[in-house]
């Protein structure tokens, strides 16, 4: 800490910060298929970096290039400022937890975890303590003497995690580390991971399909699609200010309304349906008049009422579906012209929501700050 005031952890905003990993124009092709496409990315020490994206978008390939199992077709990867190209996997201060776990089937759980330690410069006397510590962390103490085929899928996943963590590497790559765990264990392990990260200062790169998980653990999230990075930002940034309809749709629940923009005081008016008032939105973007655009509206920002409210945007629609989630309900509402809009309400007052049922005509409203205007 240099300044007097407590600093937030945001090395990516600090031009003087030295990244731990630098991708410089990294492309990976398999034959004529491009799995990773010209990626530029810096990951900083002590970060918890999450990679999010649909299946087959190149997340694992990116990790494998970091671990040294694939060589970039083009570009360079730097670790601590040094080009990794000539460093074989066994000499990289990087450990990876494989998506397929890749446990050693002929070794016990204990020996799987001890495997890397035995090949490090850790003194023999300390190995046992370290393995026991790892076993305790992933709650597998009683299974230490079993072989991988004698334990369940979730337990295997935890062995793989413990094995990758054991060496306390500078950089830890986790490829969907928690996918096979039940919700409670997953939450516990998430916090455990963050705790480990805090204690050891290890940098984590984690691949996940669970955006809630990414939101919970990550310092920054990268959304990938077709081998490209669409957006790299902090979780709140990526949720509140997605830079494209794809990202908005990928992270969290959202309604995307397509339309054309027309300049308006403080922003734009979006024409979205014949005979309907345009929707107004504040935006830092500069769009030309009549340009095609998208409006992303999060369901929790939309108010639901039975009588017409006063707001910047007010539309009327018919309730098609109600998803009751316990603490809140999601209303799927059809607007004139067929456009669907999702709105969410906390179920605070008892039975009050019962007033709105399927087929009801209701009013939806939101202010001009609550939607996000997107040009792609």
């Amino acid at each position: 800490m240099t300044g007097g005031a407590p600093q937030v952890f945001a090395p990516w905003d600090d031009p003087k910060a030295k990244p731990l990993i630098e991708f410089r124009g990294v492309t990976k092709r398999f034959g004529d298929f491009t799995a990773v496409d010209a990626i530029d990315l810096n990951i900083y020490p002590r970060e918890f970096f999450a990679l999010l994206g649909p299946s087959g978008c190149g997340k694992t390939t990116l990790m494998r290039m970091l671990a040294g199992f694939e060589t970039p077709t083009e570009g360079h990867i730097l670790l601590d400022g040094k080009d990794l190209a000539a460093v074989p996997p066994n000499r990289r201060a990087v450990n990876m937890m494989f998506q397929s776990y890749a446990l050693f089937p002929h070794l016990t759980v204990y020996d799987n975890i001890a495997f890397g330690l035995k090949r490090s410069d850790m003194p023999k006397s300390e190995i046992d303590g370290r393995v026991t510590e790892m076993l305790k962390l992933v709650q597998l103490g009683p299974f230490a003497k079993r072989k991988p085929h004698q334990i369940s899928g979730g337990q295997r996943q935890r062995v793989a995690l413990a094995r990758a963590l054991a060496k306390a590497p500078k950089l830890l790559l986790l490829d969907e580390p928690l996918a096979a765990l039940d919700k409670k264990l997953r939450h516990d392990t998430q916090f455990e991971l963050m705790d480990i990260q805090e204690k050891t200062g290890t940098t984590f790169v984690i691949v996940t399909h669970d955006q809630e998980e990414a939101m919970t653990v990550a310092s920054r999230i990268a959304v990938m699609k077709d081998g490209r990075l669409l957006q790299v930002s902090t979780p709140p940034q990526i949720y509140e200010n997605p830079n494209s309809a794809y990202v908005a749709d990928f992270i969290g629940d959202v309604t995307i309304i397509n339309g054309t923009a027309e300049p308006h005081p403080d922003g734009y008016a979006v024409h979205w349906a014949e005979g309907q008032a345009p929707l107004v939105v504040r935006s830092p973007l500069t769009l030309s008049s009549g340009q095609a655009c998208h409006l992303a509206i999060r369901p929790e920002k939309v108010d639901v009422s039975k009588t017409r409210p006063e707001d910047d945007n007010v539309v009327k629609g018919e309730v098609i579906d109600i998803a009751y989630l316990g603490n809140l309900s999601t209303f799927h509402v059809r607007l004139p012209g067929g456009q669907m809009l999702k709105a969410q309400k906390f179920n605070t007052e008892h039975s009050a929501r019962k007033e709105i049922t399927w087929g009801d005509e209701i009013w939806l409203s939101w202010s001009d700050e609550c939607a996000v205007l997107l040009d792609r």
Binding site: G68, P89, N90, V94, F98, R119, H149, S152, R163
Partner: protein
Amino acid sequence: MRRLSWFNVTSLTLGFAFLYVPMLILIVYSFNESKLVTVWAGFSTKWYGELFRNEAFLDAAGVTLRVAFISATIATVLGTMAAYVMVRGGRFFGRTLFSGMIYAPLVMPEVITGLSLLLLFIAIGLDRGVLTIVLAHTTFAMCYVSVVVSSRLVTFDRSVEEAALDLGCTPFDAFRSVTLPIIAPAVISGWLLAFTLSLDDLVIASFTAGPSATTLPIKIFSSVRLGVSPEINALSTILIAIVATGVITASLVSKRAIARQRQDQRAAVAGA
């Protein structure tokens, strides 16, 4: 259980008769009292005694076992290495040609393999004996081993090796401490295959054996040409017994291993 139709019963009977009647006759006659092979004169085990007093046969048996053991071992090492490179080496220049060439001896007529080896040994002035038979058997058994091992390697999850590298193994260490233990069953079957191939090879051995060393198949073949003696029947019966025991043990062991693994898996699922 389904009842077998008359057609199935007939084909089963015919097939098995075809396979085993000759052997059965051989076994029965090995216990024949008479010196004449085709005339039954009562039960006796005297030919077995005779056999064990026959120095020439015992020598040949010794040579055969030694050759089989050494050549199977060398062939297993070389064959495993070749399979590893073929499956794991990725695409290197001439890979298709190499893999084709490794498997070519499988279909090459043995006479040609034997003859070419003979020519080679004469050309380099190597005296024919145990060494030349070992070399010859290694050459042709190696490709069988490499077929067996590479079929195991292609179904092997590559990421397990990568995990070993990731955890600090050198490629050789990863092979020794991870790959080899996992493919061990295939390597052992490869060795057994090479061993039996060497044990019953006649053609290649007769090209490469010299006066100083004869293998059992050569010995049997040459003495049969002077007329089948009950001693040969006894010897063959012993060989059949050894091979049968080996095969049955191997299949029992592997069946047990599979059953145990299933049981473990069920226990794991139940206990989880």
